[in-house]
């Protein structure tokens, strides 16, 4: 919350768009701003009415450089926009830097995304340290604009709950040192490990003790959230991501042309398989294991076909790891299986579990 907890006493507010950026049509600007208001009114008692003349509570304008509010803009990049806390006159007003390019898609900078953030300030919110929150200071566009639980808790702390019979809840950002942390997928990638959960990836690097957490869209804007499996075919420098009955292939940050593809056609799964739980490719043998419910398939990357005799029960090839796999990767010849908060280090040669650890043991907590 902003220092001093400024708020609007009247929760029925007006707003006016004083001028328009030439980067978008007027209708696109109106729509982006309207959606930003709807975002906040859907989780609070606040209502917003657009007016076209005279003074409104929240005046919205596109300006550049020094625009006489003691906070000049700085040209392209850097400072994108600002907004003033609730109050009379300039209070609540939102200024967008006209030296930026405003868009209604992935390209920098998405107006709806920035407007949703600035409106949080106009209503009394300050910046959040939660990278998954709209009120995080830095611009990150993950493809969709949604209030996180942190944003919702903030606005409801100022104005109370929405009149909505079902209280809206928002996504929580994973905490890398949460001992209850579980994963959607894990893969090696060019010698590193990448862990996936909801909209986020986590990775460690030897130079920096804290695990890095950010949006998957920072690397692969067009991958869906909530990935279910991922594995690397190292000698092709390719990583494959699975969700539902489709998969995407990437090389570094580039999604390869012609994806997504269907798992049935590419790997020969029966149509009864609706999604993959986990996958790992054994670098030594070129065999890729797919885990689906309590079964596993084995695919030969060289022959590009499923091996005969599969599917098998997971317990036949990997005794002791249980009958469900959330995620799996290979490192230094061993398989690391993840199910819930547990992680099994497995020796595929002796078919034995070597260690049992917490799922987040890789994050130096």
């Amino acid at each position: 919350l902003t220092q001093g907890s400024p708020r609007w006493e009247d929760t029925h507010l007006t707003y006016r768009i004083e001028n328009y950026t030439p980067d978008l049509s007027r209708a696109a600007v109106d729509h982006a701003i309207e959606k930003a208001f709807q975002l906040w009114s859907s989780v609070s008692p606040l209502t917003f009415t657009k007016v076209s003349e005279s003074q409104a509570d929240i005046m919205i304008s596109f300006v550049r450089g020094d625009h006489r509010d003691n906070s000049p803009f700085d040209g392209p990049g850097g400072n994108l926009a600002h907004a003033f806390q609730p109050g009379p006159h300039i209070g609540g007003d939102i200024h967008f830097d006209e030296d930026e390019r405003w868009t209604n898609n992935f390209r920098d900078y998405n107006l709806y995304r920035v407007a949703a953030h600035e409106l949080g300030h106009s209503l009394g919110l300050a910046h959040s340290t939660d990278i998954g929150a709209l009120m995080y200071p830095n611009y990150i566009f993950s493809g969709d604009v949604q209030l996180s639980q942190d944003d919702i808790s903030g606005i409801q702390a100022i104005y109370g709950p929405s009149q909505n019979p079902t209280q809206p809840i928002g996504p929580q950002t994973p905490q890398v040192c949460d001992s209850k942390l579980t994963f959607d997928a894990i893969t090696t990638i060019r010698g590193e490990l990448m862990f996936f959960k909801d909209r986020f990836y986590m990775r460690t690097n030897p130079f920096y003790p804290e695990a890095e957490l950010n949006f998957i869209s920072v690397f692969w804007p067009h991958l869906p959230n909530g990935l279910q499996a991922a594995y690397e075919v190292a000698d092709r420098d390719e990583v494959r991501f699975f969700k539902g009955n489709k998969y995407w292939a990437v090389k570094g940050q580039d999604v390869l042309y012609g994806y997504p593809k269907y798992i049935y056609r590419s790997f020969g799964f029966p149509r009864t398989v609706k999604n993959i739980d986990a996958a790992v490719s054994d670098e030594d043998t070129g065999k890729t294991y797919f885990f689906v419910a309590n079964k596993c398939w084995r695919y030969d990357e060289y022959k590009q076909s499923m091996d005969a005799g599969y599917p098998k029960m997971i317990a036949e090839d990997f005794p002791g790891i249980g009958s469900k796999v959330d995620a799996v990767f290979q490192k230094d010849g061993f398989f690391y299986f993840f199910h819930g908060k547990r992680q099994y280090k497995f020796d595929t040669k002796t078919k034995r579990i070597l260690t049992l650890q917490k799922a987040n043991s890789w994050f130096n907590c």
């Binding site: 907004a83 900078y109 600035e118 200071p137 830095n138 804290e210």
Partner: protein, 83 residues
Amino acid sequence: FPAATSETQEQDVETVQKYLENYYNLKNDAKQVERQRNNDPVVEKLKQMQKFFGLKVTGKPDAETLNVMKQPRCGVPDMAQFV
């Protein structure tokens, strides 16, 4: 200025100074911080910023910190009122 790593370029020094003035109230608070603990206000503010962004709190403009400072962002300060 804090004992920054040798390869910190001149413009990085300026980036840090400007960023802390814009978003961490460096100028206005400098006197106060100096008086209180006879500390370098830039180091204090740098630590505040590193803590806010979940970076390693070193008080030095390391590469991770500079990387965050160079990202496009909102003009409202992280640690002060914007009125």
